[in-house]
């Protein structure tokens, strides 16, 4: 085990993937000499050269379109989108080409493209630097969507994403880039659990708290706080947003009967809506109260000074937990 930040774990994952398969090439803005604005690709240019760590012109549609062409040629491109809010110029290439070419050709043309997206808010950034666009990609058939929450998962699932013959949109929570955790760098990929599995991060019995990305940490804090109150929360890190591992989710819901789904992204037609609709379909008879969503508001990401009023935090999670448990709010006494 090696202690690494999430950022370094991602870098290690890229490095290992490039060693494992010389068809893996990295493309993006500023990923070469600079090592990316988050330094995820730091050192890779020196190690693998400019033919495999490619600084591109400043055009996201161009980058993803170029990745498609490289995939046609048998490469496994890994694209870095500089920030979440800059993926939209590439939306057409992702939705109409990356996601559909395998289907269009009945599997004759593979699109083993990984699109890494530094993701989500809470870092006091300027507009477009804190977006949570995952639902767009979850809604897009033909893509897989991964969201990581810790260094170990980051290292493993990035390698899995790159090794996958399917296109993967890979979300990296920016505000965790400097969070540390143990990573088993030597663990063979073959022994790893499949990329699509969720993880019960903490077992519990009273209610299930489902989330992903940076909010997994908040959910664990909520579970701690709830425990002080005698409430046992089960926390699930979805890890894969498409497909969602509904077997694990349903098993938990059947046990607890109460559910909160949380994410930073806005609410309307977001991932939480999907998870709740699916839970309701599968576990209706087990539900003891209405599953609730705790999400960003349905607003554009607000200016940095106001983001704390947008992002779900510990208190909002606990408030929802209280509500699914039909308890008065533990903080305020309201709702009794």
């Amino acid at each position: 085990m090696t202690e690494l930040t999430l950022g370094k774990a991602l870098g290690a994952g890229l490095r290992q993937a490039m060693h494992d398969d010389d068809k893996v090439v990295l493309l993006g803005e500023d990923i070469g000499k600079l090592g990316g604005v988050f330094r995820i690709t730091d050192g890779l240019l020196d190690e693998f050269g400019a033919a495999r760590v490619i600084d591109t012109p400043l055009a996201e549609s161009g980058i993803v379109g170029m990745a498609v062409g490289l995939a046609f040629r048998g490469y496994r491109p890994v694209v870095e989108i500089q920030f979440d809010g800059f993926v939209y110029p590439a939306f057409d290439q992702i939705v109409a080409q990356v996601a559909k070419l395998h289907y269009r050709t009945q599997g004759r043309v593979k699109m083993p493209i990984t699109i890494r997206i530094p993701w989500a808010g809470g870092i006091g950034a300027a507009e477009h630097h804190s977006e949570s666009p995952e639902a767009y990609f979850v809604h897009t058939a033909g893509l897989r969507v991964i969201a990581v929450s810790n260094p170990e998962d980051a290292y493993r699932s990035l390698r899995q994403a790159i090794a996958s013959d399917d296109p993967v949109i890979f979300f990296e929570p920016k505000r965790l880039y400097h969070h540390k955790g143990d990573v088993d760098l030597a663990a063979p990929l073959a022994d790893a659990p499949p990329m699509g599995l969720a993880r019960v991060v903490r077992a519990g019995t009273d209610a299930t708290l489902i989330t992903y990305g940076a909010m997994v940490g908040t959910a664990l804090q909520a579970a701690d706080a709830a425990e002080d109150d005698g409430i046992s929360l089960e926390v699930i890190d979805l890890r894969s947003l498409s497909p969602v591992d509904y077997d694990s989710v349903a098993a938990s819901v059947r046990k607890t009967g109460r559910v909160v789904v949380a994410h930073e992204a806005s609410r309307e037609a977001g991932v939480a809506a999907e998870v709740i609709a699916s839970i309701t379909e599968r576990c209706f008879e087990y539900l003891e109260s209405a599953p609730l969503r705790v999400t960003g508001h349905d607003i554009p990401y607000p200016p940095a000074k106001l983001e704390k009023y947008h992002l779900p935090d510990l208190d909002r999670l606990l408030d929802a937990v209280d509500r699914v448990l039909d308890r008065p709010n533990r903080l305020t006494g309201a709702g009794a």
């Binding site: 170029m66 109409a96 897989r144 399917d166 497909p243 509904y246």
Partner: protein, 371 residues
């Protein structure tokens, strides 16, 4: 401040502003730029180019007929563009790779398409018309301009592989307005990628004349990006072949991308769903009929005494045979079973979709058990 390129006054002026080898009347024009690239083309070769153009026109007519008869959902005719498509595509090496739009029937023909390949997609049977690897041609692309970036990416792959192949991409005059096509030029120039851009300027993007996209010669854009370009008479099969050989040689020899604007004309409707009488003059069409790419080569060969009745008959027979095979392939197509809608979405198992497939299979099975 910077020198302004002259805008094109009208479509008639267009061809005068482009390079040619064969004039509309079939006479040969000396062209120091292009001639060297087709010095080897003897009458036999020219007849073979003519033959391909005639067959292509026949395939195209069959496509229209099949659509009119309800056998195809849609067809995008390429009548009038035979010289551009055959002339350029015949120059491409088998190991090169082509990224076309949806109108390149002649290109896939030249790459060895099988009879069913022309119609499979338009009939709505499959997403791709043919096996890309078999033809060295990416699936027909409907999203305007998207394929140009793919060609550049592929070309960068060629470069990394140290291969001497070339990626070729075809697109229309309308497509030149799309961001993607411009980004493709920028990426290609930045990496000096071995890619050839072929703009088929057929004067129309559905109902919009090319002047909506550009009042200046489109080929004039490439040099600003650092890409050498040539503007050829797209109804002159020799000029098209010569330009393409130049461009391929340029790209193949490591000099980076090259750009061709082939000035041609879409004689038919945009697609079988289109009614061009709503937006274009019969007179314009008529003027282009006089520049027919096939008639031009016939006139040239005939004047040289190199075209016999036998040649013509053989060509017509070959064309009819292809059309017949195409029709038979079309009518013989068997639609895949319902559950095929789930095939090929992912390369690897996807639990969500597998469940949907199972549910739908059970649902469909419930009808069968009914009986």
């Amino acid at each position: 401040m910077s020198p302004q390129i002259t805008p094109i006054a009208d479509t008639a002026q267009d061809l005068e502003l482009s390079e040619r080898i064969l004039a509309p009347d079939g006479s040969r024009v000396a062209n120091p730029l292009l001639d060297p690239f087709v010095a080897d083309v003897d009458p036999a070769q020219l007849r073979s180019l003519l033959r391909d153009m005639v067959i292509l026109r026949r395939i195209d007519a069959e496509g229209v007929a099949l659509q009119r008869q309800g056998q195809l959902g849609l067809w995008a005719p390429c009548q009038g563009q035979e010289a551009t498509q055959i002339g350029t595509a015949r120059a491409i090496a088998p190991e090169d790779y082509v990224f076309p739009s949806y109108r390149e029937t002649g290109v896939i023909y030249a790459r060895g398409a099988q009879p069913g390949d022309y119609v499979r997609m338009w009939r709505g049977e499959e997403g791709a018309a043919y096996d890309p690897a078999a033809l060295g041609v990416a699936p027909l692309q409907i999203i305007i301009g998207a394929q140009t970036l793919h060609a550049v990416g592929y070309a960068i792959g060629i470069q990394h592989d140290g291969a001497d192949e070339v990626a070729v991409t075809y697109f229309g005059d309308g497509a030149t307005s799309q961001g993607d096509v411009n980004e493709a030029m920028i990426f290609a120039a930045s990496y000096q990628a071995p890619v050839v851009f072929v703009c088929q300027n057929n004067h129309w993007a559905i109902s919009e004349p090319v002047a909506v996209q550009s009042q200046y010669p489109i080929a004039g854009r490439a040099p600003g990006f650092g890409i050498p370009s040539v503007r050829v008479d797209g109804n002159d099969v020799l000029a098209c072949m010569a330009a393409m050989r130049w461009a391929l040689e340029h790209a193949r020899s490591g000099k980076g991308p090259a750009y061709i604007e082939a000035v041609t004309y879409r004689m038919g409707p945009h697609t079988t769903a289109d009614d061009p009488t709503r937006y274009r003059d019969e007179a314009e069409l008529e003027s282009w009929r006089r520049r027919d790419p096939i008639a031009r080569v016939e006139a040239h060969l005939r004047a040289a005494g190199e075209l016999t009745q036998e040649h013509l008959a053989e060509t017509q027979a070959a064309a009819d045979a292809v059309a017949k095979e195409m029709r038979a392939a079309c009518l013989g197509m068997v639609t895949r079973p319902p559950l095929a809608v789930f095939d090929g979405v992912y390369a690897e198992p996807h639990t969500g979709l597998e469940r949907q497939r199972d549910e739908y299979a059970a649902y469909l099975a419930s009808f069968e058990s009914e009986v």
